[in-house]
């Protein structure tokens, strides 16, 4: 095709199209009424077609996953002790009140809960609880008039009493009395604390120097099983 003919064809094609546009433009379309939210439709349609692609979904999931892992790691690093403690030191013993979160804790969890506490005790810190429940206990313990009755007060809270220096190798011993699980903690060389379901707590004193938990357990059993002395009255 010659250059002249090519130009002629281009012009003809262009003019033909232009005339069609003009014809339509001049046409009266009485029912024609574009919707007001057409721009929004263009947007939403395009988003569906272009933005939400499998590749981008995959990237988004990966980003969320990594973010979640980072948050979990950073949270675990900064994790504070789960439990709230109240500490009262008297007679070479430390009275601890642990929030009721520890009620259903296993012995291992209790041990873990005590671990940071012991460290703090060695540095002479006194911790205060954040919740009202344990605040009330602090008030009880710091009331001079009630100090004489402190052991009984402890028995009605969710608490545990331990000694500062534990001479026994094991921090506690589990025993079962009448299907009731009891935890035994050393108080001092002449007494242990019996802790039951984080609800009942009492001290048992011995006339004999204790050297092992088997002996402690034996005496506990004898004491609790004594005729006419129900467990509930031992607190």
């Amino acid at each position: 095709m010659t250059k002249e003919n090519k130009t002629l064809l281009e012009n003809a094609l262009f003019e033909s199209t232009s005339q069609e546009i003009k014809e339509i433009d001049d046409t009266n379309l009485p029912d024609f009424s574009p919707s007001a939210d057409f721009k929004r439709k263009i947007y939403s349609s395009h988003i569906k077609k272009k933005i939400i692609t499998p590749k981008r979904i995959f990237i988004a999931i990966m980003v969320l996953l990594i973010a979640t892992i980072i948050i979990m790691v950073s949270t675990s690093n900064d994790k504070e002790p789960v439990y709230d403690y109240i500490i009262d030191i008297s007679n070479n013993a430390v009275s601890l009140s642990v929030s009721d979160k520890l009620k259903d804790a296993t012995p291992r969890e209790i041990e873990l809960a005590y671990s940071p506490l012991n460290s703090m005790l060695n540095h002479g810190y006194k911790l205060k609880s954040r919740d009202a429940y344990t605040t009330e206990i602090i008030n009880t313990f710091t009331n001079e008039e009630k100090n004489t009755d402190i052991e009984l007060k402890q028995s009605v809270i969710s608490g545990i009493t331990i000694t500062l220096d534990q001479s026994l190798e094991e921090p506690y011993r589990e025993i079962y009395i009448d299907n009731t699980k009891l935890y035994l903690f050393e108080r001092d060389t002449r007494s242990v604390i019996v802790w039951m379901h984080a609800e009942y707590e009492f001290f048992l004193d011995y006339n004999t120097y204790l050297t092992d938990w088997e002996e402690v357990e034996r005496i506990i059993r004898e004491t609790i099983n004594a005729p006419g002395v129900p467990i509930s009255e031992l607190k």
Binding site: L13, I21, F38, I47
Partner: protein, 179 residues
């Protein structure tokens, strides 16, 4: 700014597309309505046109408003036809009907034989739109069948066969062209 333009990274291209939208939207929508006789379908057709423009932004003719309008017109018409086919509308814009528009009688009636240019113009007016649009994109805008397929959002094979057929029609009528 229109939201779909956010996907265009180049600021100049984005501005150019936005300008096209602002300046041509009204007549484009009216044109789509002309073909589809339905507001909703017209909007859908235009929607597809803009999606296509974003996809093929480098193919949009620049510098001449009239040429741009002709280009957009072809995009609209093809988008409207595609939508009508997709929805199985019982309309008069099926391929068969469009082909049938081009009868010998029509051609003879409409041909103005004052000069060669008018003959060509008259013949082009009688050509089925699907062939005419292909010719416009190929001859006027210099687009290959591959590009045409992308612009009109049709299979490449379809674009190739239509282009071949369009050239055959033109060559049959005007030996001078031989395209």
């Amino acid at each position: 700014m229109l939201f779909f333009l956010m996907l265009v990274n180049d600021e100049q291209e984005r501005d150019a597309l936005e300008k096209i939208y602002e300046e041509n939207f009204d007549w484009m929508l009216k044109t789509a309505f002309y073909f589809l006789k339905n507001n909703e379908d017209a909007e859908d057709a235009i929607q597809e046109v803009f999606v296509g423009l974003v996809k093929n932004k480098t193919d949009i003719p620049t510098g001449d408003e009239e040429r741009l309008r002709a280009y957009l017109f072809i995009c609209i018409r093809n988008s409207a036809f595609a939508l009508a086919k997709k929805k199985n509308y019982d309309t008069d814009i099926s391929d068969e009907f469009i082909e049938s528009l081009s009868t010998e009688e029509d051609i003879q009636d409409r041909l103005i034989k004052k000069d060669f240019y008018n003959e060509v113009l008259a013949y082009i007016k009688t050509m089925p739109p699907i062939y005419k649009d292909i010719l416009v994109l190929n001859v006027l805008y210099g687009k290959s069948s591959h590009k045409i397929a992308k612009i009109l959002q049709i299979p490449k094979k379809t674009a190739e066969s239509r282009l071949t057929r369009a050239k055959q029609l033109l060559n049959k009528q005007f030996k001078e062209f031989d395209i």
